[in-house]
Structure formats: structure tokens, C-alpha cells
């Protein structure tokens, strides 16, 4: 019986693929950030342990989630707040509100209210700041875009959560960490709108910025590798209808290519998740594939773009990449997992496994296209996982 880790590694070509691995991307979005799934997995622990980064307690939640769902990877072994930050923060629940208290000597803001996520859950956010007026030259880029060295990340305890997850689950689960893809990371520094405008207004500056964020990403990758992570997940939203394939090729590709090579040299699998990429952006997809990430995952077909899995398999095969790049499934998380009947769910799981195994040749990991919705029940997720095991088991 293969472990989850072995299943995924086999799907990446490191072994003989027998069972189709089954995973859930962005598990933390719905599972950790909304009370519905939190209650399923936390077994009475208060929600604010997430805010505090209480590592021992969070590991218990993760363990319950792994036991109940049985996915083949442990998602989100990511960089966390520093050890110093965790030491200097405490939560004070009162009848009126829950306060986060900063006990750092001399802290300017020493207490603020934190709120429980709404029933529908929250999602990852990015800072919506506009530094376009500040970052105008290459010198500004170097001054403001700070590259924290891998050694520093580790010394400061920012990799403590990664280390804990690897220690607890690393022997049986594929440990996956998220990185900021260079283009996407540019948003963090000058805001999404200004950065999109730079593609036309000042591509040279944008390229300098993206090169710099790639340097920061590479340090994260090095830190993850030192901690024993198995792979990195790179989300990119400067794709699809946002920019043209030519803009991606000129500005994003060189920096992303460096990140991919860096991960691969350190033995990590690089899974690329570009959003909005469908048949209309095939030239861009081919540009992405030319970089040879270890895995490619496209969202399910949605408004305005078609990402049919058979089409994906055909594009990869036409480029002769079926023995180099692992394809990820994209079961529709709303229309099939949440809304579909049991028959529809089974039909789609079976169809995608058939595409992955027979049309594509076996380098395939079953996944949903987008984060699981808060309206989806735990029972439904278990049903989905069981169907993958049923149809994706040994031939």
C-alpha cells in the first residue's frame, strides 16, 4: 500500500504510478477560515489559535483533517510569523470582543480586536497598496523590495510551521508549501492596478520589480528545501485575460523560469497554478509549459474560458511533455462537488481519471479546480475522496 507521498511522487515520475493521488488545493481557505469546516476539524479548539499561530494546536487540527479526509498531501506548510512575533502576542477573549494583545515592550498598538471569520469563510488577501508613486527606479526597487535570506527566514522562526508539518506528516504525506510567484508578488509592492498598468506604461521597471521579487521567492524556496518540503505551489494571476501571452513571455517568464530551476535543483516539485488560462490563451499556456514546471494545474472552465482537461492533455502531448509534466485534475468545485448529484460527481471523477490515465498516460493528480466552497459539506468531500480511491485505484 503506497503512502500519499509515494502516490504523488509516483505521479511526478519518481516511481511507478499505480493509484491516482487525490488532493484538495487551498484546503486552508474553506477548511481553516470558515467556522463550518473549522468545527469539523478543530474539535472544540477556539478559532483564534489560527491568528496566534499556535503551532502545537494547529498541528492537532491538521491531523484531524488528514484523518477525516485522507488527502495525499499536507497543504500549506508555509512561512509563518516570526518566533519573536508569536512570543509577543496573546489573545484575550472577553464577553464583548476577542483582543489580540501585543506584549512587545514599547509596542505602539498594544491591543486590537480580531474577529471570527464569517460563516462563508474568508480567503487569502493581498495587500492592496499603491506604492507606484514611490517605486519609480531600479534603485527604488532594490531599496523597498526586501529580500529576506533563507537563513534569516529560518533563524527568525518563520519556517517553524513548515518544520512542524514536515516532522509530523512528512513520512507519509507530500508536503506542499506556497510561494509568491514573481509577477503575482509584484502586487504586494505596488498594488494590483498599478502593476497591471506598468505592463504598458513602464515594462522596464516592472521587469526590474519582477526580477527582484523572484530573488525573494528563490530565498523562500531555499528555506522550504532546507525544512524538507516536497514541493512548492505557485499561483499566478497575471495570466489569462489580464495580460497578453507576449507580455507574459517578455516580463514574467524569465523570472518564473529562474524560480522553477531553483526549486528543481533543490529537489522540489514546482506546481504552477495560473488562473484564467483556457483555450483562448493557449499561446500563453505553451509559454508556461516551455518552462517545464513539474506540475500544471488549471482552474475549471468558468465564465469566458474553457479549460477542458482533455484539451489540456492534448496540448501537453502535442509538445511531447507527457513524461515531464504532471497534469492536475480540475473538478468543478461549485457545479460538481457542491451542487452536482452523486451520479454527476462520480461521472466527472471517472472521466477525469480516464483522461489522466488513458489520454495523458498516468502522470496525473486528482484535484478540484478551485478552492472548496463553504457550502460543501464534509460528507460530500469524503464522498469525493472515496470516489477517487474507487476509480483511481490500481488498474
Amino acid at each position: 500500500m503506497m503512502t500519499g507521498k509515494e502516490r504523488i511522487l509516483a505521479a511526478f515520475g519518481d516511481g511507478s504510478p499505480e493509484d491516482i493521488p487525490s488532493v484538495l488545493n487551498y484546503a486552508h481557505l474553506a477548511l481553516w477560515r470558515g467556522p463550518h469546516f473549522w468545527n469539523d476539524f478543530a474539535e472544540g479548539k477556539p478559532w483564534w489559535i489560527k491568528e496566534l499561530w499556535d503551532i502545537p494546536k494547529l498541528l492537532e487540527v491538521e491531523e484531524t483533517m488528514q484523518r477525516k479526509l485522507g488527502t495525499d498531501w499536507a497543504w500549506g506548510a508555509d512561512i509563518c510569523p516570526s518566533r519573536e512575533w508569536r512570543k509577543n502576542h496573546m489573545v484575550v477573549p472577553t464577553s464583548r470582543a476577542v483582543y489580540m494583545r501585543d506584549i512587545t515592550p514599547g509596542a505602539t498598538v498594544w491591543q486590537y480586536i480580531i474577529e471570527e471569520p464569517p460563516p462563508e469563510g474568508t480567503h487569502a488577501t493581498y495587500p492592496n497598496v499603491d506604492l507606484s508613486g514611490i517605486i519609480k527606479t531600479k534603485e527604488d526597487v532594490e531599496k523597498y523590495v526586501y529580500v529576506r535570506k533563507a537563513e534569516t527566514l529560518i533563524e527568525e522562526g518563520r519556517t517553524d510551521w513548515v518544520e512542524a508539518v514536515v516532522k509530523k506528516f512528512g513520512h507519509k504525506k507530500f508536503i506542499l508549501s506556497q510561494i509568491g510567484n514573481p509577477l503575482e508578488a509584484a502586487c504586494d509592492f505596488i498594488g494590483p492596478m498599478p502593476s497591471i498598468k506598468l505592463f504598458i506604461k513602464n515594462p522596464t521597471l516592472l521587469k526590474q520589480l519582477v526580477d527582484r521579487t523572484a530573488d525573494a521567492t528563490i530565498e523562500e524556496i531555499k528555506a522550504y528545501a532546507k525544512m524538507g518540503t516536497d514541493g512548492v505551489w505557485a499561483w499566478e494571476w497575471y495570466t489569462g485575460e489580464i495580460i497578453s501571452p507576449a507580455q507574459f513571455e517578455a516580463i514574467g517568464k524569465p523570472a518564473i523560469q529562474r524560480c522553477i530551476r531553483s526549486a528543481q535543483q533543490l529537489g522540489l516539485k514546482y506546481i504552477f497554478y495560473p488562473t484564467g488560462v483556457g483555450k483562448d490563451w493557449q499561446a500563453g499556456l505553451e509559454s508556461i509549459l516551455d518552462m517545464k514546471p513539474d506540475g500544471i494545474h488549471l482552474e475549471e472552465s468558468k465564465k469566458g474560458f474553457d479549460t477542458d482537461l482533455s484539451w489540456q492533455a492534448s496540448v501537453l502531448k502535442a509538445k511531447g511533455l507527457q513524461d515531464e509534466i504532471t497534469l492536475f485534475g480540475n473538478v468543478d468545485s461549485i457545479n460538481i462537488v457542491q451542487e452536482g448529484t452523486s451520479e454527476e460527481l462520480e461521472r466527472e471523477v471517472k472521466r477525469q481519471i480516464d483522461v489522466g490515465r488513458n489520454e495523458y498516460g498516468g502522470r496525473f493528480v486528482m484535484d478540484v479546480g478551485s478552492p472548496i466552497t463553504p457550502e460543501t459539506s464534509l460528507e460530500r468531500l469524503i464522498e469525493y475522496m472515496n470516489l477517487v480511491r474507487k476509480h483511481g485505484g490500481k488498474r
Partner: protein
């Protein structure tokens, strides 16, 4: 075009303007300037738009005509190209910015009399729902609606239902546009519709975002769903025509 030295007396909305053109200066006709505005928007040339918009004022041409036949025509052309997937969001955003830059210059020149005679197409409150911080689509729809004569009140992102309701009441909105981009936040659209209905507000509600469709709009009881920018404008116009 001809080089000339002359005095121009243009009566524009009750304002007499006099312009001396130096010898050798080329004078563009109103038609040429307005078409230049359209082309500048289509070519993402915000500096060009600003220059021509200022020229409209300097020469005493009709600012409203310049907006409607220059800027709006241009941004609608760009919107259609985007809808047809001939251009990308980065280009659309720059064009929208150029259009707004021109609006900023020309709008204040449209006199109160003219404004009074030009009926606002309708009032729209736009926002992204609670828990969702995506704004690109919402901003672009707001821009397109504004360019098409709607009075738009953009309440921003991550907005609770009450914020939509309060703003709609405050401005007596005809339409509310609520955007949701993630699978985890679209439920807020359902809450929004429910709140408007419970309070007996007649405001039309249109929804948009990558994770919603006609079926979702129907399910939550929204008045309509717009797949893209052009559809959003058309839907808003339809709402107003049916009023």
C-alpha cells in the same frame, strides 16, 4: 486643416471664448478633435486625451459632444475588443484611465444648463461583496457605466450588505451592482438580494464575477447577471428602459 491667424468667437453653452492662433499654428476642427479623442482612448494614449480635451475647452467646442462622441465611443470600442478577446485587461485598463482623464477635464465644462437637459441614464451603486477584495472587474464596470451616462457610486471592496443598502437608500439608486470573485464569497450576493427584498427596495440588482452565472442569479433572486463589461452596460440600460 489650414494654417491661419484669426479670431474665434465660439458661443458654447453661454460662454464666449476668444482664441488667437499664432501664425503657422494648425487648427483642428471640432470633428477632428473629437475623433482624435476617440482614437487616443483606443490607442491607450492618456496624454493625447488630456491634450485634446484641453483643446476642446480652449477652442470653445462642445464638451458634452466631445465626451459622448469621442471618449465614450472610444471606450466602448475598446470594451468590445476586450469582449471579443482581441485585447487584454492591461490594455483595457489603460484605455479606461485615458477615458477618465478626459472626463475629468471635460465634465466640469459641461454647464449646469446642459447638465439639466441631459438626463442621467440612472444611478448605480457598485461594490465588491464582504470578504472579497477583488476590484478590477468592478472598477471597469463602474468606468464603463459612467462613460455611458450612469451616475456611479463605487463603495469599494469587502463591503457588507448594509453598506450597499445604505448607499442605495442615500442616493436613491436605480441599480446595485455586486461583484464576487471567489467561490467562498458569492454567498454574500444572496444575502444582499435578500436584504433588499426584505426592506421592500425596488432597486434592480445585477451580479457579476468569475464564479457566478445566470443560474446563480436566478437562484439568489437577482434581477440579472452580466458576464462581461458590455453585458453589464447593456443590462443596466435595459433596467432603465423598463422603468
Amino acid at each position: 486643416m489650414r494654417a491661419c491667424v484669426h479670431r474665434e468667437n465660439h458661443k458654447s453653452h453661454g460662454v464666449m471664448k476668444v482664441k488667437n492662433l499664432e501664425k503657422g499654428e494648425t487648427s483642428m476642427s471640432e470633428k477632428e478633435i473629437i475623433d482624435g479623442l476617440r482614437k487616443a482612448v483606443v490607442n491607450y494614449d492618456d496624454e493625447g486625451v488630456k491634450k485634446l480635451a484641453n483643446e476642446v475647452i480652449e477652442k470653445g467646442f462642445d464638451p458634452l459632444k466631445a465626451i459622448q462622441e469621442g471618449l465614450v465611443k472610444g471606450i466602448n470600442e475598446v470594451g468590445e475588443k476586450f469582449g471579443a478577446k482581441k485585447i487584454f485587461l492591461s490594455e483595457l485598463m489603460i484605455a479606461a484611465e485615458a477615458c477618465l482623464a478626459g472626463m475629468d477635464i471635460l465634465k466640469p465644462q459641461v454647464t449646469a444648463t446642459v447638465r439639466a437637459n441631459v438626463k442621467t441614464v440612472g444611478k448605480v451603486v457598485m461594490g465588491t461583496v464582504y470578504g472579497d477584495i477583488h476590484f478590477i472587474g468592478k472598477n471597469l464596470v463602474a468606468t464603463m457605466l459612467e462613460a455611458n451616462g450612469f451616475e456611479v457610486y463605487d463603495i469599494g471592496e469587502d463591503q457588507p450588505v448594509e453598506a450597499f443598502v445604505n448607499k442605495a437608500k442615500e442616493v436613491d439608486a436605480d441599480i446595485v451592482g455586486a461583484s464576487a470573485l471567489t467561490t467562498t464569497t458569492r454567498l454574500e450576493q444572496e444575502k444582499l438580494v435578500k436584504a433588499f427584498r426584505e426592506q421592500g427596495l425596488k432597486t434592480k440588482i445585477m451580479i457579476g464575477g468569475a464564479v457566478v452565472d445566470d443560474a446563480w442569479a436566478e437562484r439568489v433572486g437577482a434581477d440579472g447577471y452580466a458576464k462581461n463589461l458590455q453585458e453589464a452596460v447593456n443590462l443596466a440600460k435595459q433596467f432603465m428602459e423598463r422603468k
